[in-house]
């Protein structure tokens, strides 16, 4: 078990290392250098001024040296400074990340609560109309562009019917702990964001349950004369749920990417919106910080997932 965790840890660190190289290389491949991006739009600068700025930011050094220096700063928690706001990137991410986590966490919960029963139902009624309908719905859930779904939600429920607020996190002037107001603001973004997850889990559970249904112990349980419901819940679902942990990886990545557009549509003050606005302003240090940080968080969650899976199912860690 220790060896298994250790091996996964080393893999994760190596991958993170690769991501930092990728990010850094991309920035250096761009036409011009970071300083020319930085001074773009500022008043006239002489060549001497430019050279001075280059030296000040260390852009004149050889690239591997620059990379190592940048990596060192990243490791010590210094994600750089925003070109636009001149504030530390870490601070800007820290202010918005909790809002994104709140959104993604709820979306994940909804995805589980809806996707698992739907997928199980589809598998138990294999080939029926219910199964067909659920199957098409889950493909549709993948195919619908999340930003368009969000727009439709805003258009129907906020602009035309006025059930929910158009966007934001709290009505201006509302009390911080006004739960009703908070919930009303959450409904749209959470539903929009969770759809892809619901589709994912439905599909996944359907395949898993079908797999388990074909196992010998299910036949045995049925042959013993157990009630169909007992077999479905105690034998089939329990065993099919285990791999749901594995599916978590893909769904987390989908949620992170999805938060970008959903936060934009619903004006949710999270990390996705921060990134979007940084992209609009060509504030590349912010995006670099977000890319590295979210990748690190994703890798960490994959690591936890693998370890949990190894604990729950010892066969995994032995291979």
């Amino acid at each position: 078990m220790t060896r298994f965790i250790l091996r996964r840890l080393i893999q994760a660190v190596l991958t993170l290392f690769g991501i930092t190289i990728l990010t850094f290389t991309l920035v250096r491949l761009a036409p011009g250098d970071p300083v020319s991006l930085m001074v773009a739009g500022t008043a006239e600068m002489t060549a001497a001024d430019l050279a001075a700025v280059r030296v000040a930011y260390g852009v004149d050094e050889p690239i591997p040296q620059q990379y190592l220096r940048w990596l060192g700063r990243m490791l010590s928690g210094d994600l750089g400074q925003s070109l636009l706001y001149k504030r530390p990137v870490a601070q800007m991410i820290g202010a918005t990340l909790p809002n994104t986590l709140q959104l993604s966490g709820l979306a994940l919960l909804v995805a589980l609560l809806v996707g698992v029963p739907l997928g199980t139902l589809a598998a138990l009624r294999r080939g029926s109309v219910v199964d067909q309908a659920i199957r098409i719905l889950s493909v549709a859930g993948h195919a619908i562009p999340p930003f368009w779904l969000g727009l439709l939600f805003v258009l129907t429920f906020a602009v035309q019917l006025r059930f929910f607020p158009v966007g934001g996190m709290l009505t201006i002037g509302a009390h911080d702990w006004d739960l009703g107001d908070r919930l009303a603001h959450l409904v749209g973004p959470v539903l929009t964001l969770s759809l892809a997850g619901i589709a994912n889990y439905t599909r996944y559970l359907r395949t898993e349950v079908l797999d388990v249904l074909a196992q010998d112990y299910v036949r045995t349980a049925r042959a013993k004369g157990l009630h169909a419901r007992t077999v479905a819940l105690a034998h089939v679902l329990r065993n099919a749920l285990l791999p749901v942990i594995t599916a978590l990886g893909g769904i987390l990545a989908t949620l992170v990417s999805g938060s970008l557009v959903v936060e934009h549509v619903f004006a949710w003050p999270g990390m996705g919106r921060l990134t979007f606005e940084a992209a609009r302003a060509k504030d590349y240090p912010v995006i670099m910080g977000v890319v590295v940080l979210t990748s690190a968080l994703l890798l960490l969650s994959y690591l936890i997932r693998d370890v949990v899976y190894g604990v729950v199912d010892p066969r995994v860690s032995r291979t």
Binding site: T23, A30, P31, A143, F147, T207, L260, A279, Y284, L298
Partner: protein, 330 residues
């Protein structure tokens, strides 16, 4: 993950019974007792026959063909039927309501009075072209790297695995955003980047296939006759891999179109005045109350296109090998 088709993980191994023989009628030399000899069919009908049996798949293919043809005919249609170009402004018709009397205004007009339906046609061309182009890049990079890793194994394989897991662990939309900021976004940059983000799935799949293929007898036989590495890969491994890999990459076009439209919607993909389904929605956001009809067209077309591609992909996978649809076990 977002760029790769989210419906499936990369399948690990696939039997190679794609080509030849399937569905052929085999006549046995039975004695003519009652006139007709019994017809014995191969148990698995051909892939195309299986696809044609499902009405849903037929609909999906028709939708895709129609959209493709409309996109190709955009120039002709806009000139002869609608009478306006995709970037022709008419400020007096800004936010014009859909009007069946005037072909150019069948679906209304946007904030600059440009005909929505004509722009949708041109956008179909761009979105499909970007999707196909990205799939081509994905295929080229993925097949080359996967083939090399599976054939040479050892350090080359380790390097590929590391590179692939690196690319797979970055949230792709964020990475795309970074690229859009650093480079001048345009159709070509978009094609390259979408392809470069999606290659790991293809590469890992090709790698797995190559690993098992290279142990087969015909490869050994070719090696024994003194064939070079290059010849082995090109003449013996590649032809065996290609049909399946091309199919898988083509299916990913749906995911590519979805990502392209997200990026264009955010204002960082295809740039106006070139119309794309994504960027047509960017400005519709500001006019939700005033011109809600602008929201329906582009979104419906993205949805229908991607849905058709996914349904077709599912059907093709099932027809090729039912096991492909199953998720990988850890």
């Amino acid at each position: 993950m977002a760029v790769n088709n989210p419906l499936h993980g990369a399948p690990e191994s696939v039997p190679l019974h794609l080509r030849g023989g399937a569905g052929q009628v085999v006549r046995f030399p039975v004695a003519r007792v009652q006139g007709r000899a019994p017809e014995i069919r191969d148990r698995r009908p051909s892939v195309v026959a299986q696809l044609r049996r499902s009405p849903l798949t037929v609909v999906a293919v028709s939708v895709l063909l129609t959209l493709g043809l409309l996109g190709l005919a955009a120039d002709w249609l806009s000139a002869s039927v609608f009478g306006v170009g995709p970037t022709e402004q008419n400020l007096r018709a800004a936010y014009a309501r859909p009007d069946l009397a005037n072909p150019a205004l069948w679906l209304g007009a946007d904030e600059l009075g440009r005909s929505q339906i004509v722009r949708l046609l041109y956008a179909a061309r761009i979105s499909l072209a970007v999707g196909l182009g990205a799939a081509a890049v994905n295929l080229t990079v993925g097949v080359l790297l996967g083939l090399a890793a599976g054939y040479y194994r050892g350090p080359v394989d380790d390097a590929l695995q590391w590179l692939a897991s690196t690319f797979r662990s970055v949230p792709s939309l964020f990475l795309l955003l970074l690229v859009a900021v650093l480079f001048q976004p345009g159709p070509w940059v978009l094609v390259c980047v979408l392809g470069l983000i999606s290659w790991p799935g293809t590469a890992l799949f090709v790698r797995g296939q190559t690993l098992s293929l290279r142990e087969r007898e015909f490869v050994n036989a070719a090696r024994a006759t003194g064939a070079s590495d290059w010849r082995l890969m090109r003449r013996h491994l590649l032809p065996n891999l290609l049909p399946l890999v091309v199919t898988l990459a083509a299916i990913d076009v749906g995911a590519m179109i979805l990502t392209e439209s997200s990026l264009s919607f955010l204002g960082l993909g295809i740039m106006p005045p070139t119309a794309s389904w994504g960027n047509m929605l960017t400005n519709a956001v500001g006019a939700l109350g005033r011109a809600p009809w602008l929201v329906w067209g582009p979104g419906t077309l993205i949805f229908v296109t991607v849905l058709s591609l996914y349904l077709l992909g599912d059907a093709v996978r099932d027809a090729i090998d039912p096991r492909l649809g199953a998720p990988r076990r850890p």
